[in-house]
Symmetry: C2
Subunit: 477 residues, 2 copies
């Protein structure tokens, strides 16, 4: 694959496919496609192509394949591991899916929505809502994240407990292969056992096996009852015990169970406009519990009251509030989604997106806290996340008054400490954000050689020329 | 890969791995491993190996790999597409997983069970039950089907609506690769986005990419409320409308929605001991509705009553009964599971295991019925199945008095008719049973050349020597 600049003739051929209005080459136009939100990676590219049809994507890949030109698919550019950013110092061409943003079909009876990969997540949520249905994927960046990126990273979010990851929300895919051939796997079937599971291979592959251009997504009946409670708990152990009760009591009606530390609540109340601590008591940890029921509104009410009563009687819940209105529910959700942005004004933050078996969360966190504080006295650990999924965003804010850059320079060192403890609990170093460039070299350390070898063979089988988002997930060789 | 009999030396080397007590070569001992339940396929083999450890499986595959000997993994031998049967006239060695039947660990807090691939499904259900948990996979052959086979065929059954297929019930796998290397992917994580999804590739691969030897399976809290209703409906359209209401009303509490025709109810009442029609009115179609709730027993009661009331008022339900006891629930479940066996005494039965988008079921069935009756006047269509999943077992019993063999000789012809209509609705020719040998040559007709090509590349990447269950799913070349 070429790493030198493509010739003017080749550039012209690519432009010819999408039209000059949709081929960006001016540095100012390119800039927004080259940096990701955390600012850790900045890529280089000779051009950004913005095809308007699947056919154009196919022609781009055919030309790329014939000329061994590296292509980086990009959606809303909200990824956290730089999988969507072209490599620095190379000549990867960015293929933006943003113009491919049509909802192709909605079938409320069949509970499916067929969408272009470039549709914005919030637009899909709205389209489902307009049809009295729910599309449950929900995450902080939903106003700009795009379906193709959600699929390519197997996005998670706050409703995984009840509805699953993006993988579980997708019935079928359309993918343009590195050769430009189009795989039409846009099936609307709940059950289909006809050969190898190609769909789940493309989902989560971070654009390294092909370009997802369309998808069949699942919708669900809208719940009638919705209750959100915010409970102060004394420890992570108590939060886990409360989660266990909530699962037993609510079953599939338990839609979210999020854990937050006192420090995170303080950060949000301090830095995020409109967020305030809804209780006048102080607690070491908080659980945000989301319950939705389909039969009646009352059953959600009954569940939330029963759960909190059991929690208080059992000594698990110290204090709690139940959101009394949709506005209050939104306010609590907003606090949760602000956990990460609220860390920014506090200086540097070293991030981890890890998972361990749910029952190991307390032990993992205790051990990680000790190790982190030993390595970096004064570090302010602000770990929060999707407790019910075993997924903790184990974030570390810099000590008060520390030098930000000096702190951030210890990113890899702190990663090694936290991920080492994750490994002890047979956990994952990337629960929902993927590998991209950020964790690529770590992947080979935490996965067995045979597992990496199988991944390499798959990559080679799908993309022998190595033009499809190279150096992401696996190092190109 | 060899198709001639292995040499006496090679046979001795294989025997040496498992010990002579666990290497069967006597024709009488081999016989039960060579035929499947429907009697459509009969294979040949020089020997059946019954390893007792994963290490022995690994040594078998290493030797097979070195000598290019074809290996056919087999679990409970309950598959419907002959994926588990060695080829006729070849020298495939059968690798039976039946002795690998240990439950390795149960963690009720983490809701996981770690089991050898040779564990019988019913034993897994019982182990979960003993720990006050539910393992929801449930199917007719659960008393002899084994977990490795359930995984390799991505088994479905009657609770898919609420809990998903086997794919959704598995968190991690252990697989012995064709080379004998062991992939330890026994993770207990609900979320893990670290590279390509190998797990879902082995699930449903029917033993053609490796030998599944162990798995981490998900358990669920036991529901408190359980209600089963049996409703007579006037048409498939009405059944679909009732299903739509049930999904909206019950959400995830709707655990099963099975469709049965009058003919099927008559067959079971006539042929299956203990089964009787629970209603004294006659209806063209029946829905078996299973509701389970986790909060209270009363909520399931309320749901089932609300649903039937809405169904009767809305003109969808002609008559209905609600099972009043666990015995009555079991009796209704037994009737449903006897739909297939009850066809045997009526002569030959040509089977289809198809799926279409749920909303297309009525149109598909109407069109298929017309085409089948035109091709074979007098045919008795007994189509039933998992309506909520779009999965219909479209079975055709021979006309009364017809010659059984002459009828069965038209298997492929009837398949072509039904599957042709399935294709019109973008359906699947194998919703839950897989491809195996039975549908292998049809697969290449219903899937695009590029899709088959991708599958071939995966097969080659994992099993370049072609020793792993050859000629299943894809034709060996």
């Amino acid at each position: 694959m070429t790493t030198t600049l493509p010739s003017p003739e080749l550039i012209a051929s690519f432009i010819n496919i999408v039209g000059s209005a949709n081929a960006l080459t001016n540095p100012a136009d390119l800039a927004p496609y080259l940096v990701e939100s955390r600012g850790l990676y900045k890529g280089t590219t000779p051009m950004v192509l913005r095809p308007g049809t699947v056919e154009e994507v196919s022609r781009i890949m055919k030309l790329a394949s014939a000329t061994r030109t590296a292509i980086v698919p990009q959606g809303g550019n909200t990824g956290h591991v730089a999988g969507q950013i072209p490599r620095e110092g190379k000549a990867d061409i960015v293929l933006s899916l943003q113009r491919l943003n049509r909802i192709r079909d909605i079938d409320p009876v069949g509970n499916v929505i067929v969408a272009d990969a470039g549709c914005i997540l919030a637009d899909i949520q709205k389209a489902a809502d307009d049809n009295d249905r729910l599309f449950p994927l929900s995450l902080g960046s939903e106003g700009s994240a795009r379906i193709g990126g959600n699929l390519s990273t197997n996005a998670g979010g706050t409703a995984v407990l009840a509805y699953g990851n993006m993988r579980q929300l997708c019935l079928g895919l359309e993918v343009v292969l590195p050769t430009g051939e189009i795989w039409d796997g846009l099936r609307r079937l709940k059950k289909d056992n006809t050969g190898y599971d190609l769909r789940d291979l493309f989902i989560g592959a971070e654009g390294t096996l092909g370009v997802i251009t369309g998808a069949v997504l699942r919708m669900f009946p809208k719940p009638l009852g919705h209750q959100v409670a915010f409970a102060g708990v004394g420890s992570v152990e108590h939060a886990l015990a409360l989660f266990d009760r909530a699962s037993s009591l609510c079953g599939a009606a338990l839609t979210g169970f999020e854990l937050m530390p006192r420090l995170g609540v303080e950060f949000t109340a301090k830095h995020i406009p409109g967020v305030r601590d809804p209780m006048d008591t102080v607690h070491p940890w908080y659980a945000l519990i989301d319950i939705s029921t389909s039969d009646t509104a009352e059953s959600a009410e009954r569940m939330v009251h029963d759960l909190l009563e059991q929690g208080i009687v059992g000594g698990l819940v110290e204090n709690a509030v139940i959101a009394a209105s949709e506005d209050q529910r939104k306010a609590l959700g907003h606090m949760r989604e602000s956990m990460s942005p609220a860390q920014k004004p506090e200086g540097g933050s070293i991030k981890h997106d890890v998972s361990v078996p749910v029952s190991s969360i307390p032990a993992f966190m205790k051990e990680a806290d000790v190790a982190v504080m030993r390595a970096m006295p004064g570090a302010r650990i602000c770990s929060f996340g999707h407790m019910g999924d075993g997924n903790i965003h184990y974030n570390i804010s810099q000590p008060v008054g520390a030098d930000k850059q000096a702190f951030l320079d210890r990113w890899r060192e702190m990663n090694a400490i936290v991920h080492g403890i994750v490994a002890k609990y047979n956990g994952s170093i990337s629960a929902e954000h993927g590998i991209g460039q950020l964790k690529r070299d770590e992947l080979v350390e935490v996965r067995s050689p045979i597992e990496i070898e199988l991944m390499r063979r798959i990559k080679h089988a799908f993309d022998p020329a190595g033009i499809m988002n190279p150096d992401k997930v696996l190092r190109a060789d």
